[in-house]
Amino acid sequence: MHVLLIVVPVVFAAVCLALPGPRLRLASLVAGSGAHFGVTIWSWSTTFPDEADSVFAIEPLGHLFVSLVSVLFAATSVYFVGYHRKALLSQRIFLACMLALLAALSAVCMSRHLGVLWVAMEAASLAATPLIYFRLSARSLEATWKFLLMSSVGIALALLGIFCIAVAAMKAEPAVSLVYSDLVSHAKELDVLWLRAGFLLALVGFGAKMGLSPLHSWKPDAYGEAPPPVAALLSGAMTLGPFIGILRVFQVCSAAGLAEFAGGWLVVFGLVSIGTAAVFVVGNNDYRRIFAYTSVEHMGVMVVGVGLGLGGSYAAMLHAMHNTLNKGVLFFMAGFFWRIYQSNRVSDVRGALHHHPTAGILFLGGLCATCGLPPFGMFFSELGILFAAAQKAQWWVLGLFTLTLCIVFVGVMTAMLPMVFGPPPENLKSAPKGEGRWRNVVMLAPATLLLLAALVLGAYQPACVRDALYAAAATLEPLRTESGAAVARGMEVLP
């Protein structure tokens, strides 16, 4: 039944290709993502039997991530209706690719077989490529080429990593298939040497797609050149795919008793990523690139959390959730500012609060959320990771983590506060009326909803969300504690 999550977008993509007229296609895009969202909601209301043999299955981690993807897509498609202008790339292909991306990502989240996961991941990145090329300009072309080549190479390495794990699995008698649940259950019989190699390769490969430093370098270009809604999808949803890939491999490793080894490398990569973000955010004058680097930072935070484990992995799940919501807000607002100020440069955008209060407030909220200020959720996730580091007595990790996050905070705030406050530049056309006004509403509504979600879920966490996060985090702790319930309890005792 959950296969609907993959089938629905594919069907609508086909419809989109078939339909004449841009308005109809837009409608089908919205309908497609809306239907996907509906199915997701419904999927939470039912419980799924554990089909042992099926390629796709709904399990806590994937379920959480696919829901995030679905939420962001729903918001983005609405936003896109307002954002949409005369497409340079054929709109038909563009929208179809968008839906295909949705389908591919859902497949990534739900696939049980690592090979299938890889195939879906590659499909997702291929579907994303035309989206980046939206403008057909020289710059976007360059960005596309860099994205395509780097992610292809990266994912090729990931494939090699998966093969290595398969080799490791050949040691078991009989040889275990690449279904991660089997791998986890037979983890003790795997060949440790090849498992380690596989993990490293997968980490580098998926890390390149996820944007961990120093493999992140395609990110600022792609996010800067792609149209903002696409950038939102890339940073909010697309990053979840490789992340789940890494998590799957990590599950196997930690089940095989390699938790310290794998976690250690995750922490290292995470800290390096946050550090890189810190260096590149300070003094940067392109707000979309800055957002891209904050995305690198947040990837790093998540990875550190998973690497630390227990409370950390819960915090990482929390962080992933809020990252999706925030990135949506930020890039939506970036697109909106582009419409007002016609510039990507921080120094050109001034006094948004004065010129368009709603937009200013939304942007400000997005900033605070991204910088981990309460009552937004990232405050709690970063605090949780800090607590986890303290509990493991990894003081260096704790110190570097806070220091780099602080630098990012200062960099972002110093750059972005003048965008919001102060007087706006003189030569600025006043808020548009009529059709433009309607567009504004359509563009601001999804951002508002996402921000509200981030706000509410930060300060007030409903039991269902907490359970979902706990369950997802528990799947990352096969060996560190005996059972998921224990992890949940542990986390309640922990932060």
């Binding site: 440790v192 040497l193 390769l201 580098v204 200020l373 405050f379 996730s381 905070f409 007030y460």
Partner: protein, 728 residues
């Protein structure tokens, strides 16, 4: 506890209503501030209930699922003391804000101001009542954020933006770099985030841990409290904020830093002696430097901001003595020190709030806070003059007002510290005494200057208009002034309240404690007697004077004549001839120029008929310009270099680099130049190279580390490995 919750709820309602009534800002203002006022009063009642009755540990756990931690509230003596301070000041400020902000209606988003005001208040109340680390940090940061938005309220002016930015960055750095790790350590030791568990978990902590915790708390909370040299944000943010906000900032927001520190101390076992000594040193430096900088200021609110630093220093002295007392197991000393600090927290909130509100009234009336331009306001706004005078006398620690009470206790603690030979065998407390005395004298000089120049004499600028002060503002100030007088004259009503807050800090058994504190604070009662005597003396002298004058009047001229001021022979004195504030302070500033490094721009009068002369003095803050600015700039420059892969931080055109590469300068240089240019242009090949290198590095690390792991780890995998390796 229910009262606290009610006031929180009221504040939420107030914020909501004022946001809903954006269309009718005036109504929003009135309603919002009404809610704030009622909430503050309720908070005071709740606090007073705890303070008057014996400390009742009522912990309340809200069914409010946070993403982390639990919403656990508790109201012990310490919380109650700060809650009372917050409530009293906030109530007066909310009365004051209504007329003050109503002038901004239409020009500024006043409803947003009200909402933020309520938010800040709620955050403050939640902060002092929080009994859970996460909740504490949450409200701490929310307080920071709301205060930031309030400071940035008039964000059209660049100096406002700068001040707000400095506040945000400074406090966030302090919080994130020091306070969060602090709680990380506490959590790691206790295994939970509940405050109640921390004290027990730290019982067995070793010396280094304690020192680390203390250091983190000192810097982290000290940044919010404004210890030198982390004080930089105060003089930047206080002056630019709307007056009610400045009053709250200086009165209570800064105090939350003190609260955090005290809360931490309440968990820690007696600390090593050095901690108290360090804190005492910090207090001396903050106090003296603060008041010296204040002397050199020319702007009312700048001056008051630096005085906040001074008073925080005084509070630090008290806490330091408390620490010393605990360290050397001298309960009397601990009690004295902590009690003095706590008393001064409240007193400072009262008179500094009063001073800020009065200064705001000056700004409101005559549109400028520049001391040199003002003058003779006492004739135009006598009520405000009286209020400012009360505040000034109180902040100088002069009897019979409240400022003297707390400074008296702190003096007492320092004296008995050096009597008992504690802290460098009593030397440090002696230094504290001297510093406190110096602070007192300098503060007196400073406020003689301010009051004398601003309110007395004749107006220096004819252009300045002064319209009268609304009743609401007068009421608020009068309330604060009344508190200042009452506390000073009737300490016997006030001092006992501090007992239940002090017991949280000085870990002394209750029975012994009460005897101690009563013995220590009993003489305070005598102060009211002295006050009565003082008033009697004044009355007697008044009668004498009246009698003499009336006799003189009956005998000859008539009523006392009024003439022009005696100009020592010069008959046409003009207002511009009055002694200015800078010249008033100059003798002290020059005396301490070795500390202050004042800048002096002087254009001497020239020619036989000199037309104009110009002298201007400033005292730039050392911490800001010598400490933090260079660091920030250096880091930014370094990062810019890395980012653009070029010296001097700006990217050169790749063509240049290529031409450099074209020169044959040996393989290494050529390769590096080529690499640099490739990096700088971010060409795809280099980026791919990064991936490859990362891979290689990872595998090398593994290869190197796996050599020894073969021996260490168990499991037959490696035996297998080895055997296969042999077989091959």
């Amino acid at each position: 506890m229910t009262l606290v919750l009610t006031s929180l709820a009221l504040l939420a309602i107030g914020a909501a209503t004022s946001l809903l009534l954006t269309r009718v800002p005036r109504l929003a203002l009135n309603l919002g501030m009404l809610f704030a006022f009622v909430a503050a009063v309720i908070a005071v009642i709740a606090a007073g209930d705890v303070l008057i009755r014996s400390p009742s540990q009522s912990t309340y756990e809200a069914a409010w699922p946070l993403s982390l931690g639990t919403a656990r509230l508790s109201l012990d003596g310490l919380s109650a003391w700060f809650l009372m301070t917050i409530g009293v000041l906030a109530a007066c400020v909310s009365i004051y804000s209504v007329p003050y902000m109503s002038s901004a209606v239409g020009r500024e988003p006043v409803p947003v101001f009200c909402a933020l005001f309520c938010g800040l208040l709620a955050a403050l109340i939640l902060l002092v009542c929080a009994a859970d680390a996460v909740l504490f940090l949450l409200s701490w940061e929310v307080m920071t954020l709301t205060a930031f938005f309030l400071i940035d309220f008039h964000h059209e002016r660049p100096e406002v933006r700068r001040g707000a930015w400095m506040y945000l960055v400074a406090t966030h750095l302090g919080t994130a770099l020091f306070v969060l790790p602090l709680f990380g350590i506490l959590f790691a030791r206790a295994g939970t985030t509940a405050f109640s568990s921390f004290a027990g978990a730290l019982g067995s902590a070793d010396r280094t841990t304690l020192m680390a915790l203390f250091a983190l708390g000192l810097v982290g909370f000290g940044t919010k409290a404004g210890f030198m040299p982390m004080h930089v944000w105060l003089p930047a943010a206080h002056p630019v904020a709307p007056t009610p906000v400045s009053a709250l900032l200086s009165g209570v927001v800064v105090k939350t830093g003190i609260y955090g520190l005290l809360r931490l101390l309440s968990w820690l076992p007696p600390l090593p002696l050095v901690c108290g000594e360090v804190l005492l040193f910090v207090g001396v430096v903050s106090g003296v430097m603060g008041v010296l900088y204040a002397l050199a200021q020319h702007d009312l609110k700048h001056l008051l901001a630096y005085h906040t630093v001074e008073n925080i220093g005084i509070i630090a002295l008290g806490i330091a003595v408390g620490l010393l007392g605990e360290a050397t197991n001298e309960p009397t000393l601990a009690v004295l020190g902590y009690a003095g600090a706590l008393l001064h927290v409240t007193n400072h909130a009262l008179f500094k709030g009063l001073l800020f509100l009065s200064a705001g009234a000056v700004l409101h009336g005559s549109g400028t806070g520049e001391i040199e331009r003002l003058g003779g306001l006492a004739r135009k706004t006598p009520a405000n003059a009286l209020m400012f005078l009360i505040g000034a006398v109180a902040i100088c620690g002069l009897p019979p007002l409240n400022g003297f009470l707390s400074e008296w206790v702190i003096y007492g603690s320092l004296f008995s510290g050096s009597i008992r030979g504690i802290g460098a065998s009593g030397g440090l407390p002696a230094v504290g005494v001297a510093a406190l005395a110096l602070m007192g004298g300098l503060a007196l000089a400073c406020f003689a200057k301010v009051f004398g120049v601003v309110f007395l004499g004749t107006p220096r600028e004819t252009g300045l208009q002064t319209h009268s002060i609304p009743t609401g503002m007068k009421t608020a100030m009068a309330a604060l002034g009344l508190f200042c007088v009452l506390i000073g004259v009737l300490p016997s009503l006030w001092v006992p309240l501090v007992r239940s807050a002090t017991i949280e800090l000085a870990n002394v058994p209750m029975g012994e404690f009460s005897t101690r504190i009563d013995g220590v604070l009993a003489p305070a009662i005598r102060l009211s007697g002295m006050a009565v005597l003082f008033v009697l003396a004044i009355g007697g002298l008044l009668v004498l004077r009246r009698w003499a004058l009336s006799r003189a009047a009956r005998r000859d001229v008539g009523v006392a004549p009024t003439v022009a001021t005696w100009g020592c022979g010069y008959t046409q004195p003009t207002p511009r001839m009055q002694y200015t504030a800078s010249s008033f302070a100059s003798s002290l500033v020059t005396t301490f120029r070795g500390v202050l490094w004042p800048e002096r721009m002087f254009a001497a009068p020239a020619g036989s008929f000199p037309a104009t002369a110009h002298v201007e003095t400033r005292a730039p803050d050392f911490a800001e310009h010598e400490l933090f600015e260079p660091v920030f700039r250096g880091v930014a420059r370094l990062f810019a270099m890395v980012r653009t892969v070029s010296w001097r931080g700006e990217s050169e055109s790749p063509g240049v680099a290529q031409s450099a590469a074209a020169h044959r300068r040996g393989p290494v240089r050529t390769l590096t130049i080529g690499m640099v240019s490739a990096l700088r242009r971010g060409s795809i090949q280099v980026r791919l190279l990064f991936i490859v290198l990362t891979l290689v590095v990872l595998f090398l690390c593994e290869a190197l580390s796996s050599v020894d792991r073969v021996h260490t780890t168990t499991g037959q995998d490696y035996q297998h490995t080895l055997s296969v390796g042999v077989n091959r």
